[in-house]
């Protein structure tokens, strides 16, 4: 039971961290609860679907279907997060200055709610399908009985969710003045980490070169399997022994999104800032 709880916890933790950050970053989006729960639901349905088609997905593209699939959905998540951040940057001044007008601003403008749905759905889908397969494997092959399995799984889900919720609550306590910079930075690092993971899958599929493998090896100092390593992996894309190409993807994503945010911020006429300056 303990083993089951730990494995489920590891998977849930990663999704919970992503959801915690994205949920905090979009706290003023109207109707957010509905978007989050739809994302969760779609992610769970997708998990079951992906788990049951694992064989098919694997066979696709000469056995590289899994890697392509993972790289593809990670790529979508990176684009979504990039869009969210750049959009937020272009509305950042209003948001920071007057939280009450914000709801309306977001309502009138292009809402980033679909981003919420997609990113949460993808996070749940990726971690969920692995959990489903793992539990299915245990249930069919091992001596563990159903109730023990369920209990272990439930403990893992509750523990992981608690971490995500604590992170979310903690982020909400950040003073409004710094809130958007803080959450934008977290989302930025999240996106860069996902881009690095996408590169990892493409290297594993031999579709792009790894360049230097590994670029460094810090597994003795901070293993990716440790809780801290796992948390850092989710938060900033920590990899104990990454390939050089992963760093290229990481930095390129970081720079591109940051440049995009800067661009919309400086391109914008300072009307809104003037209005709210008094």
């Amino acid at each position: 039971m303990f083993g089951t709880a730990i494995i489920v916890f590891r998977e849930v933790l990663e999704a919970a961290i992503i959801i915690g950050i994205v949920a905090a970053a979009t706290r003023d989006v109207p109707g957010r609860g509905r978007w989050i729960s739809s994302g969760l639901l779609l992610g769970l349905l997708g998990s079951a679907l992906v788990a049951s088609f694992t064989g098919r997905i694997s066979e696709f593209a000469s056995g590289m279907g899994q890697e392509l699939f993972n790289a593809l959905i990670l790529g979508v998540a990176v684009l979504m997060l990039a869009w969210h951040n750049i959009w937020m940057a272009s509305h950042g001044a209003e948001l920071a200055a007057n939280a009450r007008k914000v709801g309306k601003a977001i309502h009138d403008g292009v809402s980033t709610a679909p981003v919420l749905l997609a990113v949460i759905g993808i996070a749940v889908l990726r971690e969920g399908s692995e959990t489903v397969l793992f539990l299915y494997g245990i249930a069919t092959s091992q001596q563990v009985d159903g109730s023990t399995l369920l209990l272990g799984g439930a403990i893992g889900v509750v523990a992981g969710t608690t971490v995500g919720y604590t992170l979310y609550k903690g982020l909400l306590r950040i003073p409004l003045r710094w809130f958007f910079s803080a959450t934008s930075l977290l989302v930025l690092l999240l996106a860069a980490g996902m881009a690095s993971q996408a590169a990892h899958f493409l290297i594993q599929a031999d579709l792009i070169p790894g360049l230097v493998t590994p670029l460094w090896d810090t597994s003795a100092v901070l293993s990716e399997q440790s809780i801290l390593g796992r948390v850092l992996h989710s938060l900033i894309g920590y990899d104990a022994s990454p390939a050089g190409m992963q760093l290229v993807f990481y930095v390129a994503t970081l720079v591109t999104i940051a440049a995009g945010m800067k661009l919309v911020n400086t391109n914008k006429p300072n009307k809104s800032q003037l209005k709210t300056a008094s």
């Binding site: 083993g3 494995i7 694992t54 064989g55 694997s58 066979e59 593209a61 000469s62 056995g63 590289m64 899994q66 890697e67 392509l68 593809l72 692995e130 397969l133 793992f134 299915y136 494997g137 245990i138 069919t140 092959s141 091992q142 990892h200 290297i203 594993q204 599929a205 031999d206 579709l207 493998t213 590994p214 597994s219 293993s223 990716e224 399997q225 990899d239 104990a240 022994s241 990454p242 390939a243």
Partner: protein
């Protein structure tokens, strides 16, 4: 989606790459062989065949690889180039029995 198709079009090119190919079988939640030796400094094509009815996840922190293999399924994992040394791997879904080591020389 477009890029996805472009990528799949490129896949036949992989067939021309002269990689060292090694097959591992999973049976009764064990790897066969569990001890493998591969040349160092070369990219290796690892073919993992799962003869069990349940899925397994090939995982190795040392190799930085992780991949699910469906029950009665078969998959390919590219590893390396590796520097000389030993690289343990295991099956995450059956950690108690599914263990092995790849040695690069």
């Amino acid at each position: 989606m477009k890029h996805f198709f472009t990528l799949t079009l490129l896949l036949p090119l992989l067939a021309f790459a002269a990689d060292d190919e090694i097959t591992i079988i999973i049976k009764n939640h064990r790897f066969e062989p569990s001890e493998l030796t591969v040349p160092a400094g070369k990219k290796i094509k690892l073919v993992v065949e799962n003869k069990d009815a349940t899925p397994e996840e090939f995982e190795s922190h040392a190799l930085n690889r992780e991949k699910v293999i469906a029950g009665n399924g078969k998959t390919t994992i590219y590893i390396g180039p590796l520097s000389a040394g030993s690289y343990p791997f295991y099956g995450e879904f059956n950690e108690a029995t599914a263990k092995g080591t790849i040695t690069a020389k």
